[in-house]
């Protein structure tokens, strides 16, 4: 608003023009006109309004009409008797959302007209989503899981909520939060009434693959949220650190001595040392001395030949990409980010990889693997 130079509203008339299609907003609360904080409206717009101005004097008047949220409305003011020199004043406003109304102000002929912007200052709920995490207890659902792709993992976001009214904390305010997602996509644990600091919290969770972004608002008429809280579900950080180890494939040249086995299930015609077979069973794969033939452990005591070190999901293990996880914690084929290592794909699994443990494939870099240690790392689940 540019041309309004005096504050002078005494009588305000709200004219309902059109129904508001959005959720049930309410005008109950505090509103200020941008740039004119002296025009503070308290309480229900249909009731009492406080006008501060006229050289510091406070003038209170009663609105002449009630208003339904979602309406456009018209303010028709007259100069207060106590403020000589004030002129008649009109505003035509439309709610753009539950907390904003804007339009034009029509002042006296000498100052013309200009834009006007009203902002609700309270009671309002400010909803701040905290980091999206995967709780320690979260497990991959079998729903939608295949032999190569895991089901969804549950992600979780705490919402920090503050309810204020003109900057003052509101105690005991109950809230009802709503997501823009269809039912069943995310679940909101509704907040308790606010504490003495106007604070409370809520939890939003989802166990849907790629749910995108959830937008959460307060639908409580007298504590609406000026802006929606946006929860980006992925990437999500695993709350627990992951024990991080590495694995390689066995080299037959390291297992040439000791007893041999010439009746290896799945490998007719092969005679290999039992120590190599044990190593292959542990690592998953091993390379013969010809440098091209890999022996792969197929499970249940059976072996086979292969052209690469093969992962549990059936693709060739690739250094810099492959990792082994507990598939009840990290969905198979999922893309993760392991601190200090970078992005990996959950392609392998096994009995020794349990809960929050990630095994990084090092190819044939045995020495590097041995020297890696087993640090604990932060892991993010990036996508499916």
């Amino acid at each position: 608003m540019t041309s309004k130079t005096i504050a002078h509203v005494l009588t305000v008339t709200f004219l309902i023009v059109a129904p508001f299609p959005a959720l049930g907003c309410s005008v109950i609360g505090h509103w200020i006109e941008n740039g004119y904080s002296d025009e503070l409206i308290e309480g229900d717009l249909s009731g009492i309004r406080t006008f501060i101005g006229c050289g510091g004097a406070e003038v209170t008047d009663t609105f002449t009409a009630s208003v339904a949220m979602g309406s456009s409305f018209h303010i028709d003011g007259q100069a207060p008797p106590a403020c000589p020199g004030y002129f008649p004043y009109e505003e035509d406003l439309t709610f753009s959302d539950c907390n904003h109304a804007s339009g034009l102000a029509h002042n006296d002929p000498s100052t013309g007209s200009g834009p006007v912007d009203w902002v609700r200052t309270g009671p309002i709920s400010t909803i701040t989503p905290l980091e999206t995490v995967i709780k320690d207890s979260a497990r991959v659902s079998t729903s939608g899981a295949t032999s190569t792709h895991g089901g969804p993992i549950g992600t979780h976001s705490d919402l920090h909520i503050l309810v204020t009214d003109a900057g003052v904390s509101v105690y005991g305010q109950s809230l009802s939060l709503q997501s823009d997602k269809p039912a069943g996509v995310d679940t909101i644990t509704q907040p308790l009434p606010t504490d003495e600091f106007g604070a409370t919290s809520a939890v939003v969770e989802t166990q849907i693959k790629n749910p995108g972004v959830s937008h959460i608002i307060s639908t409580t008429p007298d504590a609406q949220s000026p802006t929606e809280a946006s929860i980006t579900w992925l990437p999500a950080r695993y709350e627990d650190l992951f024990e991080t180890s590495c694995y390689v494939y066995a080299l037959y040249s390291d297992y040439l001595t000791g007893p041999t086995n010439s009746s290896i299930p799945g490998l007719p015609g092969y005679t290999l040392t039992t120590s190599f077979l044990k190593a292959v069973m542990s690592y998953g794969s091993g390379l013969l001395t010809d440098g091209v033939t890999y022996i792969h452990y197929l499970g249940s005591g059976n072996y086979g030949t292969d052209i690469c070190a093969r992962t549990k999901i059936g693709v060739c293990a690739v250094e810099g990409i492959s990792s082994a996880v507990d598939k009840t914690v990290v969905p198979l084929s999922g893309n993760i980010n392991v601190a200090t290592f970078g992005t990996r794909v959950a392609q392998d699994a096994g009995s020794k990889i349990n809960v929050h443990h990630v095994d990084i494939y090092f190819g044939d870099r045995v020495t590097d693997c041995n020297n890696m240690g087993e640090p604990q790392n932060t892991v993010y689940f990036n996508n499916y």
Binding site: D136, S137, R139, S141, T142, E243, S245, Y247, V248, S275, K278, A279, M281, S282, Y283, G284, Y297, G299, S300, G301, K312, A324, D326, K327, T328, D348, A349, G350, S351, K352, I353, N354, V355, D359, V366, N370, G373, E374, P375, Q376
Partner: protein, 389 residues
């Protein structure tokens, strides 16, 4: 072995001595818990209001284990993954240099008061396991037997035989396969589940061939195998004998299939606890000292079986734990009292709490064992372990 006396450790151990001396003076049923926040180790009588911290010279790795008699803690520092450090509550800190291996130590577990098992991670389905006898007198860590590659290994109570289970579900003792868990009996591959093998000992009647009571194999998602008091033989397998069936309050079926052999000694227990989504990683098993009672917790379901002649193993009780209980290990602290190790807490559970058919009551949930700053701070503990006398 090198011994060192770090001032921090000395102070901590002194206070710990005073703290735990009263523990040892108590009656049976006391369990001591140990945990680390990654920097220090903390010990406490489970259920006590406070814990005592052991200051360490190094940041701890996640590996930490308390001896079965509660007398000492073994840990591996984050700076030297080839050395095993022992803090004795009755003596002082010692360091055992385990013979070098290419791979770092990834796990340590006490088998008996002076024998530890060192694990070195290899790959997705196997680790290296080596057993050591720790001699305080000579200061040496003496290996027992050969290093084994397996999913899990234990040593016999006589410390002479090593039993292992591998990813092919074969159980071997002294290098010979003595039992293979039948694949057809398992709805999911065994190598998708955690495996725990109980303690083994030689049979006095057939030395070198058999084992005594208590071989426990925790199998796939919905099966638990228990082989007891038998001569291990290749023909040991699933039984098709009489079934006992019970239904818990939630409608989940547990059933037991005892194999009535000549001595009614070989049984296989089937537990179907919860649905397919149940958290198998939380499966835990505790066996009473007399070997006549087994309690299994999987997810939030718990069941206790008792050996009752002539009927064999029967479900004595079953029911639910608190929904947030995540059982990782259990110990009997008395014939009917269990201490359950959760992810961050210990719980005490009395089996009468979940008798069938009565609705389960809520077990006593102990306060968090660890409160580092004494102010309820939420420092996360890792590598929790416990010992019960």
């Amino acid at each position: 072995m090198r011994s060192y006396l770090d001032l921090t450790v000395v102070c901590a151990v002194t206070s710990l001595l005073l703290f735990l001396s009263s523990v040892h003076a108590r009656a049976d049923g006391v369990c001591i818990g140990a945990a680390t926040d990654g920097n220090s180790a903390f010990v406490s009588v489970i259920g006590a209001d406070s814990s005592t911290g052991l200051g360490m010279t190094d940041a701890l790795r996640r590996t930490l284990a308390i001896a079965k008699d509660g007398s000492k803690i073994a840990y591996v520092s984050s700076t030297d993954a080839q050395a095993l450090n022992i803090v004795s509550i009755q003596n002082f800190a010692t360091r055992f240099d385990i013979p070098q291996s290419a791979r770092p130590i990834s796990g340590v577990e006490w088998m008996s008061p002076n024998i530890v098992r060192i694990e070195r991670h290899l790959g997705r389905d196997g680790s290296e396991f080596t057993f050591y006898r720790l001699s305080d007198q000579s200061g040496a860590a003496i290996p027992i037997g050969e290093t084994q590659i397996a999913v899990d290994c234990v040593i016999s109570t006589s410390n002479e035989q090593i039993a292992c289970i591998d990813a092919a579900r074969e159980v071997s003792v002294a290098g010979s396969v003595i039992f293979k868990i039948p694949a057809e009996a398992i709805s999911r591959p065994l190598n998708d589940a955690s495996v725990a093998v109980g303690s083994f000992a030689e049979s006095p009647s057939i030395p070198g061939v058999s084992v005594e009571y208590r071989g426990v194999k925790l199998g796939a998602a919905d099966l638990v195998f228990h082989v007891s008091d038998q001569e291990f033989a290749p023909e040991v397998g699933l039984s098709s004998g009489q079934e006992f069936e019970a239904r818990d309050p939630a409608g989940d079926v547990f059933y037991v299939t005892p194999d009535f052999g000549a001595d009614m000694s070989n049984i296989t227990l089937h537990f179907r606890m919860g649905d397919a989504d149940s958290d198998i990683s939380s499966a835990a098993l505790a066996e009473s000292n007399d070997g006549e009672k087994i309690t299994i917790v999987r997810g939030k379901y718990a069941a206790t079986l008792e050996l009752s002649t002539p009927l064999g193993w029967q479900i004595a009780s079953s029911g639910h734990l608190p929904s947030d209980t995540k059982a990782l290990a259990m110990r009997f602290s008395s014939p009917y009292d269990l201490i359950i190790k959760g992810a961050e807490d210990f719980f005490r559970l009395t089996t009468s709490d979940y008798k069938v058919p009565a609705a389960p009551s809520t077990p006593v949930v102990l306060p968090k064992m660890i409160n580092v700053a004494g102010d309820g701070s939420s420092t996360k503990m890792r590598s929790m372990d416990m010992a019960c006398n």
